[in-house]
């Protein structure tokens, strides 16, 4: 009976490396998108606050 343990382990190492690499890749994308969302929300909230601070909620002159 042939002893092919090294090939067996190589195959499973490759499989698990691919799976973990993909999970890490997805995790990185989720993190990046969440950061984008947080930044965009901050920006929109800051704009909203600036609008609210304008007397009567009117836009600054020249913007309409």
């Amino acid at each position: 009976m042939p002893n092919n343990l090294s090939f067996l382990f190589a195959a499973f190492v490759v499989i698990w490396l691919l799976i973990f690499a993909y999970v890490a890749f997805i995790g990185g994308r989720v993190q990046g998108l969440r950061q984008d969302i947080a930044l965009l929300r901050e920006e929109l909230a800051a704009r909203g606050a600036a609008e609210a601070a304008t007397p009567g909620g009117e836009a600054p002159a020249g913007r309409e």
């Binding site: 343990l5 195959a11 997805i26 965009l40 929300r41 704009r47 009117e58």
Partner: protein, 256 residues
């Protein structure tokens, strides 16, 4: 401009913490992932235990035959993943529902991962039993073609832009590409191949019960892994939609 101020002061998405655009849908995904993660891990450990320890050593191939359990599980899940892309593409073209397009795209990406696993584990297994990493055998070649078809599908999605036209073109690629799946499945019957014919479909299974049970556990483990990865990938799609909506809102504000 003034009439938009209340909306900007309290944008729809700003009421929720970062990364929580669609609470109901996101929570369902999050809940599913919370349960599915440990379940998948347990199934994978069980699969490894059965493949390495429980299943008997095959007489002619030796321990290398144990690669088969993961190779088989990944191959079946690969079919499932592209079937989901196929169905998602058809429903998207029919109903123009973005949710189905997201599902098709996500499943194609996960399917490509499993195709890569099938090709690489098959190459390593082939080296031990055939003495070569690769042969231009009908099943191997048709599987490689499948890899290229769905790599092309994903490249189209990645570089073509986020337009309905690209989504429609990709759906067509995903549907036509699926034709290769039955060809792969039947290749060992239609042509003389190095790849062995199915061993489970025969009237008298060529495998002992312990090997069949290990195959079944491997299949369950890989199906769970597929669903787990698909849900993670769908979460990326949800977040992308949310980013696009927020950017549009910001652009609308700029234009006003």
């Amino acid at each position: 401009m003034g009439q938009h101020a209340p909306t900007l002061a309290r944008p729809v998405a700003a009421d929720r913490p970062a990364g929580r655009a669609a609470p109901a849908a996101r929570d369902r995904l999050g809940d599913a992932l919370r349960y599915l993660g440990p379940l998948t891990a347990v199934a994978m450990v069980a699969m490894l235990y059965m493949a390495f320890i429980y299943a008997p050593t095959e007489q002619t191939q030796g321990d290398a035959q144990r690669i088969f359990y993961a190779h088989f599980g990944a191959a079946l899940v690969m079919y499932v993943a592209y079937f989901v892309t196929f169905v998602g593409g058809i429903v998207y073209l029919w109903k123009r529902s973005e949710a189905w397009d997201m599902l098709a795209r996500s499943s194609a990406e996960v399917g490509l991962l499993f195709t890569t696993i099938v090709l690489l584990s098959g190459a390593i297994w082939g080296k031990t039993i055939w003495g070569t990493w690769w042969a231009w055998d009908a099943r191997l070649t048709s599987t490689l073609i499948l890899w290229f078809i769905y790599a092309g599908y994903l490249m189209l999605r990645a570089y073509g832009g986020e337009t309905p036209q690209i989504a429609r073109s990709a759906a067509v690629v995903g549907i036509i590409g699926f034709i290769d799946v039955p060809i792969i499945n039947q290749s060992v019957r239609w042509w003389r191949t190095l790849h062995p014919a199915p061993i489970v479909e025969r009237e008298n299974p060529a495998l002992p019960g312990s090997m069949l049970l290990t195959m079944a556990v491997a299949l369950v483990a890989f199906v769970l892994l597929y669903v787990f990865l698909l849900l993670h990938r769908l979460r990326v799609e949800q977040l992308r939609v949310e980013v696009a909506a927020l950017r549009q809102q910001a652009l609308f504000d700029d234009e006003c």
